[in-house]
Amino acid sequence: MRVLIVDDSRAMRRIIGRILGDAGFEVLEAGDGQEAIDVLEAQTQLPTLACVDWNMPVMDGLTFVTEVRRRPEWRAITLMMVTTESESDRIVRALAAGAHEYLIKPFTADAMVEKLDLLGLLPVSVGEPS
């Protein structure tokens, strides 16, 4: 499975990428929402999951989520906000826009793995020779 990590912080992309890489994901990265759309448009094999920061330059995470949900060909992508935005109304807005889950920074690796479990995205390949 592939994941697209959309975050303007290279350090955060590396942290999330390492957790998801250990969980068996192949990692794609983008530094903002517009770049993420460009990455998606260039893919022949879409990612299963996108982890999306909220506050980014050029195109923010909420706009990106809205855009992904607008395009039927990207409907299968599971969207999880991963952000410092922690007010209830923000979470409600993201869910209403089409995000499936919401993980608030800071978080532990276990919390990220538990969110994958909630989303039914724990790699089916676990147990196979690595």
Binding site: G24, S86, Y102, I104, T108, D110, A111, D117
Partner: protein, 278 residues
């Protein structure tokens, strides 16, 4: 990168021998995520290489670290998820057919900081068969400090990140400064009380559901037998007991039988023993 079957088997056998906790197939991701930082600290490129060296050298200190990494449980919401699915899909609907007074009594016998009793109540609210029902929750723990935390209903950002779906967070919690507070609608349904499971229980009305998860593993056989016998005395004859995944009644108190509930299982008092408690 995921853990290989050989490495998983080694860790599984090690943890079972040292803690009596069983890591079922399917828990490979848990082993991987819990051991990856240990592996990196020890200078290995992945968990497989780390476990391979561990199985050869068997350094006692490292073995202990591995067991601790896999047995130290932070409390999560809907911990292990299967029991709560069983509640919603099997146990609560069954009870709804047999309780004419539209009232269910639940006991969370080692509630720690409160995630378990609150998760049970949230599950009850998500069970259509219980719409309009009254759920009485008794939550007990040995630790007064834990009870005070549970009663406050306040949880940090890190705590609400653990296993709680975002939709559930916004439905049942409100922001309180940097923390989150459980809604009064839920917290008002819980009665918190200090209780030592090793001592005789105070007088209590019968419970339809008892959660006694990940507690018995800490006691010797005689104490386990005594606790399970006394739990029978406070259970409704057709009540449901939930134990941890590594716990069972077989060979401890055979008055209980394990029955399937959804994709999980619960314990019920055997028919022939029910007359003793009803």
């Amino acid at each position: 990168m995921t853990i290989s079957p050989d490495a998983f088997t080694f860790v599984r056998e090690l943890v079972r021998a040292e803690s009596a906790i069983v890591l079922d197939p399917g828990k490979e991701y848990l082993v991987q995520s819990r051991l990856v930082s240990l592996a990196r600290t020890a200078g290995h490129r992945d968990v497989d290489a780390f476990v391979r060296e561990l199985s050869t050298r068997r350094n006692p200190a490292t073995l202990r670290l591995v067991v601790e990494a896999l047995t130290t449980n932070e409390t999560s919401w809907f911990r292990d998820s299967d029991p709560f699915t069983a509640l919603r899909e099997s146990v609560f609907p069954t009870l709804a057919e047999t309780r004419p007074h539209r009232q269910i009594r639940v006991w969370a016998a080692a509630c720690s900081s409160g995630q378990e009793p609150y998760s049970i109540l949230m599950t009850a609210q998500d069970t259509p068969e219980l719409t309009g029902w009254k759920v009485d929750m008794l939550a007990t723990d040995l630790s007064q400090e834990m009870l005070d935390r549970a009663r406050s209903g306040l949880y940090s950002q890190l705590e609400v990140n653990r296993g709680l779906p975002a939709t559930t967070l916004v439905r049942h919690f409100e922001r309180a400064g940097l923390s989150w507070r459980i809604s009064p609608a839920l917290s008002s349904q819980v009665q918190f009380r200090q209780l030592n499971l090793m001592r005789p229980f105070p007088p209590m009305e019968r419970f339809d559901v008892v959660f006694l998860r990940n507690v018995l593993i800490y006691f010797d056989l005689a104490t386990k037998q005594d606790i399970l016998r006394r739990v029978r005395q406070v259970m409704a004859p057709d009540g449901h007991l939930f134990l941890g995944a590594a716990e069972m009644t077989m060979g401890v108190d055979d008055a209980w039988e394990r029955v399937p509930a959804g994709s999980s299982s619960v314990y019920r008092i055997r028919e022939e023993h029910r007359s003793c408690v009803s």
